[in-house]
């Protein structure tokens, strides 16, 4: 038989996960000159876009315009979308192997990293992953509740997700009402009694993961005064040495922004956002009824590792921080997919530059690939997934050229559709999504918002006349 990739025998590719990475990989496959490719994209939720819909903050609409580019990719005649179809539930890896020449797993990082301290699981201690998915209307998280009657909250971590969480907690109801935040979250946050949000970094400002536009934004909130402690934002001796040896504008700027915060005096805004550095929570304290009453913090000092990275080391100075609500924003983590080798060290699919490896032999598995957060871990902005997907697609094309691919029993598109219909009769197509998108945007227009999201699968189906 001839090598797949021709009109007569298109290369059949399954992509599991409809986040940015899935779309970048699809786009790159469609752009290969002389290659005829069919792409079927699956997602466990009915809607596409992954974290662009369920992660990116509702008050950051500009970046969400990337979905227009994804829609273009999806308009390709050889593209199909199967929403509400989960690998491991409706379909197995063997099902995919029986119908495709190649499979790419782009399932992202579905859970949170743990801090590993006592009290982490007390009530009112939440993973930021859950809060974010909740306010963005992810169907699996929409029914969670957060006790926003507390007056003081802490966000652990100083990455961009921590900045998102702190900002959403600090926004005014009017500001939130102009976004596409989930309706129930808008309601809950509008009634929020939170007055103080403490954001906790374990290292100094120069080592903080958040990027400058995001920090700057924290200083421009209408409803919250931002503060920081001069002694915590002033670079220590080691940091000064690094900055002198290798001057880096962005880092210097970040330190400047935070120093500026430390010099500000409150202007009487309703909320206070407190940026803390060089502190680590060592324990969350129980209020006697199983809920968080506060946290014990230890003050850190920086030391240099062998490669010159400045890392925190606990001192013997402790502090009590009374807070009734905690958001742990210390990073995401990938979860294993049934039947796909996993690398537990890093929480990713076991792979080499995107080729999935056999768990025993550590040699590439024929026809199985991965890209994005589930390949390299939960770091990087949307665009970072583009070169990452390109690395994987390059490997796929190399393999194809050497005729290395699966030999599916039945590669016809119709066979897949029959199978999906049988396993998940309620699956959604891209046409279905575009229809929902139109309704969501129309409902938004009526209320002066970018869109009003569907957050229940049954509401989506009802809107499509399929309930």
């Amino acid at each position: 038989m001839t090598r797949p990739g021709t009109e007569a025998q298109p290369l059949r590719v399954a992509i599991v996960g409809a986040g940015p990475t899935g779309f970048y990989a699809t786009d790159q496959l469609f752009r290969q000159p002389g290659l005829v490719v069919d792409v079927d994209m699956y997602d466990r939720v009915p809607t596409p876009y992954g974290l662009v819909r369920a992660g990116v903050a509702p008050d950051h609409q500009k970046i969400k315009s990337v979905t227009a580019a994804f829609d273009k990719v999806a308009a390709h005649p050889r593209f199909r979308f199967f929403g509400a179809v989960e690998l491991g539930r409706h379909l197995s890896v063997d099902d995919l192997r029986a119908h495709y020449h190649m499979i790419i797993y782009t399932t992202g990082a579905q859970t949170d990293r743990r801090m590993g301290i006592a009290g982490e699981d007390l009530q009112r201690s939440h993973a930021a992953t859950e809060f974010v998915a909740w306010y963005n209307g992810h169907p699996d998280y929409r029914d969670l509740t957060f006790d926003l009657s507390q007056e003081r909250a802490a966000v652990v971590g100083v990455g961009n997700v921590a900045a998102d969480v702190a900002r959403i907690l600090s926004r005014t109801p009017e500001e939130l009402a102009a976004t596409d935040i989930a309706d129930y979250a808008l309601e809950a946050l509008s009634a929020s009694r939170i007055r103080e949000v403490h954001v906790l970094g374990r290292r100094g400002p120069a080592q903080a993961a958040f990027t400058n536009p995001e920090v700057r934004e924290l200083g421009e909130l209408t409803g919250a005064d931002v503060t920081a402690r001069p002694e915590e934002v002033e670079p220590d001796e080691l940091t000064r040495q690094v900055l002198e040896r290798a001057p880096d504008r962005a880092t210097q700027k970040k330190v400047e922004i935070l120093k500026d915060f430390s010099r500000r005096t409150p202007t009487g805004k309703p909320k206070r956002l407190v940026m803390r550095f060089l502190v680590s929570p060592v324990e969350l304290l129980d209020d006697g009824r199983g809920g968080v009453a506060g946290m014990r913090l230890v003050r850190n000092r920086l030391y240099a590792t062998a490669t010159g990275t400045l890392q925190p080391k606990a001192t013997d100075e402790f502090e009590h921080l009374p807070v009734g609500l905690v958001f742990r924003s210390v990073g995401y983590r990938g979860v294993p997919l049934p039947g796909v080798p996993f690398n537990d060290d890093w929480g990713v699919i076991l792979n080499e530059k995107g080729r999935v490896l056999d768990a025993q032999s550590k040699l590439p598995l024929v026809g199985q690939y991965t890209a994005g957060w589930i390949k390299r871990g939960p770091t990087g902005v949307i665009g970072t997934n583009k070169p990452d997907a390109a690395e994987t697609v390059t490997g796929m094309l190399e393999d194809l050229a050497r005729d290395i691919h699966l030999r599916p029993a039945d590669a016809s598109p119709a066979a897949v559709e029959r199978l999906v219909r049988e396993r998940q009769p309620q699956y959604l197509s891209y046409q279905d999504w575009l229809r929902l998108d139109e309704i969501e945007t129309r409902r938004g227009k009526e209320t002066g918002r970018p869109r009003v999201k569907f957050t229940r699968v049954k509401d989506m189906l009802a809107a499509l006349g399929r309930a």
């Binding site: 990719v73 010159g308 060290d345 490896l357 665009g383 970072t384």
Partner: protein, 149 residues
């Protein structure tokens, strides 16, 4: 970003050699795996040195009997070890400043990977490209074209 995300897509095998093995054996490993350096480990799998193709070439240039020498005779003993939590940026700076081409990475003294200066440069370039790509999305009001052109 820390270097764990570089190791995450490098599988989990690190090709190692023991100090008492011969250079011929070491060359076999380098050739079989198409790599530029081997981590030299003791019996407890702790890194004790690094042996690069350069180390071998340098010795071969003046010594006909290089093949039967032991790894320990040629390896670099003063190895700098990284940890997965090391920041990409400081690792890149240290490797460049000290002319280190390969950095073994240990976690609680267990060898968990090795990264090359090439890995670091590629990661930095991809990070930069990703940021530019993302800025372009934010700056482009009108998305008339397919992803990222």
């Amino acid at each position: 970003m820390n270097i764990a995300s570089l190791l995450a897509k490098k599988g989990s095998k690190v090709i190692t050699v023991q100090p008492e093995q011969t250079i011929r054996q070491a060359l076999g490993l380098l050739a079989d795996h198409n790599i530029g350096a081997l981590v030299v480990v003791d019996r407890d799998s702790r890194p004790v040195g690094i042996l690069s193709e350069r180390d071998i070439v340098r010795s071969a240039a003046r010594d006909e009997d290089v093949f039967v020498k032991t790894v320990s005779a040629l390896m670099t003993k003063d190895v700098i070890l990284g940890v997965p939590q090391d920041d990409l940026e400081s690792v890149g700076r240290t490797m460049t400043d000290r002319h280190i081409r390969h950095l073994p990475v240990v976690d609680q003294r267990r060898l968990v990977g090795i990264i090359s200066i090439g890995d670091v440069v590629k990661a930095q370039r991809d990070l930069y490209r990703g940021e530019v790509e993302t800025l372009q999305i934010e700056l482009t009001e009108e998305h008339g074209k397919p992803a990222g052109r």
